[in-house]
Symmetry: C2
Subunit: 145 residues, 2 copies
Amino acid sequence: MKISTKGRYALRMLVDLAEHQQNGFISLNEIAKRQDISKKYLEQIIPIFNNTDVLRTSRGPQGGYMLAKSPDRYTVGEILRITEGSLAPVDCAAQDPVECARGTECVMLPVWQGLNKVINDYLDSITLQDILDREQDRYANDYII
Amino acid sequence: MKISTKGRYALRMLVDLAEHQQNGFISLNEIAKRQDISKKYLEQIIPIFNNTDVLRTSRGPQGGYMLAKSPDRYTVGEILRITEGSLAPVDCAAQDPVECARGTECVMLPVWQGLNKVINDYLDSITLQDILDREQDRYANDYII
DNA sequence: CAATATTACCATGGATTTAATAGGAATACA
DNA sequence: TGTATTCCTATTAAATCCATGGTAATATTG
């Protein structure tokens, strides 16, 4: 019942891009160093976002990545559903359910459907902007103290 | 972000035992057939419950397993935490957190802690008895129609 | 305009975990 | 003593995570 490194690294990468929005294209090298994540592994995570209107890309010197939309238009749930494939805790409770032999008779199915709902509802309630704001709040509090 | 087969099979096994409480010890053969789960794999799942006051065991002919408590005294969350090790979606949000280099500075930590809470709260709100009751309700409705 | 350096992109492989399958030893009842 | 059962220990097959090495595109510089 773990979020994979793919999803966690992808989120940290997108938050990093959001924090440095004003700097234009950001290279993977920069992100990998700042976040202490293998650059080579990040390279494998990025293609997952192809054709999803998440990232903009530029190759060559001064190239890199930037967010395609403003941070308040990404939810954590949306990002994780892309990287993880689905957030459903079991395949039979997914949006596009994989039915098992027991079908709708399964005593556990309602439990899993309920779990799927609380997970997705929670993660869809948080945007990248919320994460930036919370960070900013903490920083402000530290400053006051 | 999946519940492993260990947890899913364990739950179905315990629900099966709850459904047949009145029959005394139930053999793995019976459960495996009824639930269409590999008996050999179930044998490996059971020892996870050693020293947890979940099951009672009897070897030899007429042996098998039975619940150690009444079904309303097991929550789904409790069972899954035993089989899965922890339900925390990331290790840093677990009860006994594995700290990472970023420690409490991590911008994602509050998100994961919140997710951990909604998952555990939901799963702790459901007991084995609830699952039996819901099954009974559905059966009753079918009968009326 | 050509060379070069910088960047994204692509394919493969190894280590570790998960999900089973398999064989047999220990135990207890009849 | 025989047999039904739990218990224990490999072995295998697939997926996941991450590292390595090489290729292609492009902005800058001379």
